[in-house]
Amino acid sequence: MSAALDIASWILILAGGAFSMIGALGTLRMPDFYTRVHAASLTDIVGSLAILLGLALQAEAALTAVKLAVIALLLFFTSPAATHALVKAARARGVAPLGGEAASKP
């Protein structure tokens, strides 16, 4: 049982680290602001939640796991809200998407 937990937590932590790195690479390499937001949200949600869940599987005390759950909930609710506010502010200030303003109209 313990070995299974260890393997699950290794997979989660390594996958989270990989997702964080890929998301950061996308944030650096993507061509315009809105595509960068897409890449950064990968780091924000998948990377951080996978690592925190993997750490929670390694926790010895119950309080540690509870604190990790609090951090995960905090990130899970605030990070998309911050990203949404960021994109709305960028739209309101007239940052044009890739392909010009016409490309964003349905």
Binding site: L14, G17, M21, F33, I51, L68, T83, A85, L86
Partner: protein, 85 residues
Amino acid sequence: MFAAAAIALLIALALLLARAVLGPTVFDRLLAANTIGTVAVVLLATIGFLTGRPDFLDLSIVYGLLNIVGTIAVLKFFRHGSLGE
């Protein structure tokens, strides 16, 4: 394993920092700053496990709370031109 995750997070921090320095618009820099905050929270938790001191998790919680408040405050400033209403 914790060390591998910490190194991956440090590389992510370096890439995001490059975007924050390069970013053509202020929103690019703000996006990078926001994500740097998230990565810092996770990095603090990982370092706590790496050194066997789970007290670092409290620091993580404080960082997470400050991160959201800071980002929303700066955004409100850029959008409305003032922090109050």
